[in-house]
Symmetry: C2
Subunit: 201 residues, 2 copies
């Protein structure tokens, strides 16, 4: 064995020991978690979709409320439709806000979507609830931040929630168990490319 | 209509016009893209999993090479197994590096996984190839960065590739069409929680 290999193996042994000691102090979550995917980069809703696949792999029940039209396209909807007993998808968005140009109508849609979200989160029927693009709705003040955070914290103990969308507000960040910021370092759009089938939708 | 609603609707109208003008200048990608999910936060592999779901929704063929054991657990594997004609999964990792403590053995496994990756990327048989945790292998110098970037750029024109793992090296970042950094802002692990079933695996 080379000196480099020996040094590496010894270092890895130490990492392993530290890792095991750290894990001894950790406990499994005894309640559902509140997770936030925010930032200006790709992957916020896509990572939520990946988590939905994981949850379904365990036979968990999943509720999805889509606050803005457009995230879940035909491909994903066909996928969800394969699990009629496990997935409830509510599409409340009426198109992107720059398409509707009707603030009053957007607010009515947002409030309806929020009521359905609260029902799902408080019912105890779901292991995972995904509130897709809820942050956008908060950013436009279509819903009150305080009311939303209260509703999230009052959810059933068994239910994990994922909130997606850029510009997650401060009180939501403070209430979350996990916050990940997806940062755009480089995006094909900047090089003149439109969204790609099978990648972006 | 209130003054606030009128102002909002007028602003949204402007956003819409700007958006449409911008989109006119964009073209659909005429080749597969190279996407990198890096950073210390959650969602790198999970977003890749979400993109796999999208690709499968379009009937695309997907190749997956797992460089480090542990990312794709039972739930995901059962999911991939539902698409035997569309998904090829190669698990090359021999456990996390701090479990094997055997650098020489890790390098052999990494080289084997890389050869399979090159086969998949150059064959023209796949719309999407996911090289999961390839960045970790590069970080430990198990593979040569130059060779990996060359292999990625020599892929079939039709094939998009997603590379995941923290600490993506500079030459890979420079070669990529899209780079997203998943930043850990808060993680349940810091609050004393272990990974949760249906969320993290």
């Amino acid at each position: 064995m080379s000196e480099q290999d020996k040094a590496h193996n010894a270092a890895m042994k130490k990492v392993q020991i530290r890792h095991r000691e750290k894990m001894k102090k950790k406990t499994k979550p005894d309640r559902g978690l509140l997770l936030v995917n925010t930032g200006d980069g790709k992957g916020k809703s896509t990572a939520a979709l990946g988590t939905i696949v994981r949850a379904l792999g365990w036979g968990h029940r999943v509720g999805i409320v889509q606050f803005i039209k457009g995230t879940w396209k035909t491909g994903e909807k066909q996928f969800f439709a394969r699990f009629p007993d496990l997935v409830d998808l509510e599409v409340m968005g009426q198109g992107f806000t720059w398409d509707t140009q009707d603030r009053a109508k957007d607010i009515v849609a947002a409030e309806k979507a929020w009521r359905r979200s609260v029902e799902m989160m408080s019912s105890g029927d779901y292991d995972l609830v995904v509130l897709d693009e809820l942050n956008i709705v908060l950013r436009y003040d279509y819903l009150r931040e305080d009311e939303v955070v209260e509703g999230l914290l009052a959810r059933s103990e068994k239910t994990s929630v994922i909130v997606t969308g850029r510009d997650a507000p401060g009180k939501l960040l403070a209430a979350a168990d996990q916050v990940t910021e997806m940062m755009n370092i480089r995006h094909p759009f900047q090089a003149g490319f439109k969204a790609a089938r099978g990648i972006d939708f």
